[in-house]
Amino acid sequence: QDAIKIGGIAPLSPPGGVQTGESLRDGMIVAVEELNANGGILGQPVELIVEDTSGVPEKGVAAFERLATAENVVGVTGSAHSAVCSAVGPVAQETNTVFVAGECWSDSVTAAQIPEVFRITVANSLVYSVAADWVKEAGFENIAIISENSDWGFGIIDVFTENLKDTGATVTSFTAERTVSDFTPQLLQLKRADPQPDLIVAGFTGSNLLLMLRQAYDLGLAPSPETAIFAAGADVLEPEFWDVMGDAGKYVIGNPAGLPGKPDTPLSRSFGEAYQQKFDRPANAVAMEGYDGVMVLAEAIEAAGTTDSDAVEEALRNLSWDGTRGTIFFPQTKEPAWAFQQWPEVPIFVIQYSEANQTPSEAEILWPKSQATTDEIVLKP
């Protein structure tokens, strides 16, 4: 019996964000095992083929090519780098293979409005406008953003600047190569700045994000009573964060696009358990996206009753599936551009660790207000 092939793409080697890539892939693996345990799709077993993108657009394109033309997968999910997601869009269109983008936040991924491209994670505009609301509410006035000079990094700066324009807050931004590992000169400069910033946004990923957080802490800059620090990269959600940061991780603020156990549905709970059991680590938003990505494809194939690409694509457009993070569907609105086939209800949280070694689920939720676990808008050391 032929297997139905589903493709995954994720950065599994440097210079990509390998940590994120692995979580994404592991989420997919859990999904495929679950599908096969329940008899597969359309009665056929499911095979997952994950290709490495290294986080590099050309390699992503090559990987997608291979999946679409050599492996003949029905659809592809994953990615973890906006640049890769954007780059594979045209290939998806050309090869008529649907792509469910996960963990890539740049607006441009969906703004290209390619019919084959769907997104189950947030768009920068979606997430940082929420974060910006929190910033407004918290009343920060001097905000410094240090971000990598990638699509995602520039997006953070743009959305913050845009959304805080009318609040009178000043936003200063620095961008740097993904490989810069010593931020001390800038951080010293911020520390000596008058006034000292009250919020630093760290728009990096991987080891370098942790280094920046660490250096800010060691210099006594942030987190401190004067200055809060907001880590935009998904790496703060992984348990290894604590191995590296120790106490310095306390009071770091993160913004996951989903928290395990929220909403508290049976699916989200069972996924969390399966993941924990298989990989011996708690699931996080990225793993949930990996899982949801495969499941969305499986649902669409099931709904279409065939693996024919056009039918699957159509089924995705009409899909409404209760995933680990809520009901996933893909609106066809083209205004604003990035909203096309973008799941609009991605849960977005602003969380802050109040103790060392917390999981994201244990951290205090600061925002949205409706879900907040603390009255403070930001905790100070």
Partner: protein
């Protein structure tokens, strides 16, 4: 900018310089003896970081011991690499020794980097440093791990300089680098010195990695950037010249520290951070092709 701010940047520059110098020392020694630029130096540095991490975090040894372990492990590794790969450079087996040495070490670096990716995984590790906490010097705050690393680096550099100048082993190392045949005729074992030099160079890379690991995290690509800085430094100073390497490190540390904050467009200033040293290097080489401290050769 206030005086304190300037001092703070200068101090940070100095600390960073000592890191760079440490990373560059082994490179300079290996080049000095074997006339080989070890393009795998960054990966040896990375392995030093992992050796330290394994010793301190996994085996629970105290940090000081961890550093010794890292140095010893890398010395052994260096000796092995020299024996297996580098020896053809000077025993006459390689037809084009210079190109061979560059390419073989480059290939080694590709192998080690990918091997580490596969073996250790992508997660950064942060082993316990030699010292924790911050040190306040007046208004200036320096974190303990950095200061410790810088201090050890300075001591090491001094010891090494003295050793090269005043010990017979150091002289043998210099002699072999200049004329292998003559060295052998006078009774020096060229192979032993070659191995000694490579092992020492690797041990220094390992030490640097062990000291730097707690500061910059232990992660497979951790050596890539420092080693490029190390290249810049040794070339700035004149390949093979240890005092040159130190001057180079000091210059680079200050340039990076101040250029990053003095260039008016803050975004560009940081984006080009890793390019300052390279631009400096290109500039200096154009004026003095033999580096700051290198010497000219007699031509005919």
């Amino acid at each position: 900018m206030s005086l304190v701010a300037i001092l703070e940047q200068a101090l940070n520059g100095l600390i960073v310089s000592s890191f760079y110098a440490l990373a560059a020392l082994g490179l300079a020694i290996i080049f000095g003896v074997l006339r080989v630029v070890n393009f795998a130096h960054g990966e040896l540095y990375m392995l030093g970081g992992y050796a330290y991490f394994l010793a301190v975090a996994s085996m629970g040894l105290p940090p000081v011991v961890g550093i010794v372990v890292a140095a010893a492990a890398l010395a052994a590794m260096g000796a092995l690499v020299e024996w297996l790969l580098i020896r053809p450079v000077y025993d006459g087996r390689a037809d084009r020794p210079e190109e061979y040495s560059i390419m073989i070490t480059f290939a080694l670096s590709i192998l080690l980097l990918n091997l580490a990716n596969s073996l250790f995984g992508p997660w950064p590790r942060r082993p316990e440093p030699l010292f924790r906490g911050g040190v306040e010097i007046g208004e200036l705050i320096v974190s303990g791990d950095r200061l410790a690393a810088a201090g050890v680096a300075v001591v090491l550099i001094a010891v090494l300089l003295a050793a090269l100048r005043y010990t017979w082993a150091g002289r043998a190392v210099r002699a072999v680098s200049q004329n292998r045949e003559a060295a052998a005729i006078f009774g020096i074992s060229v192979t032993r010195v070659g191995m000694l030099a490579f092992a020492t160079g690797a041990a220094l890379a390992g030490l640097a990695g062990a000291l730097m690991g707690p500061v910059f995290n232990v992660v497979p690509p951790m050596g890539v950037i420092p080693v490029i800085k190390a290249y810049v430094i040794v070339v700035l100073g004149g390949l093979g010249s240890i005092p040159g390497a130190i001057m180079g490190a000091i210059i680079l540390g200050q340039v990076e520290s101040f250029a990053t904050i003095l260039i008016p467009d803050p975004s560009r200033a940081l984006a080009y951070k890793d390019a300052y040293g390279l631009v400096l290097l290109v500039g200096i080489l154009l004026l003095r092709p033999q580096g700051l401290f290198g010497t000219k050769e007699r031509r005919a």
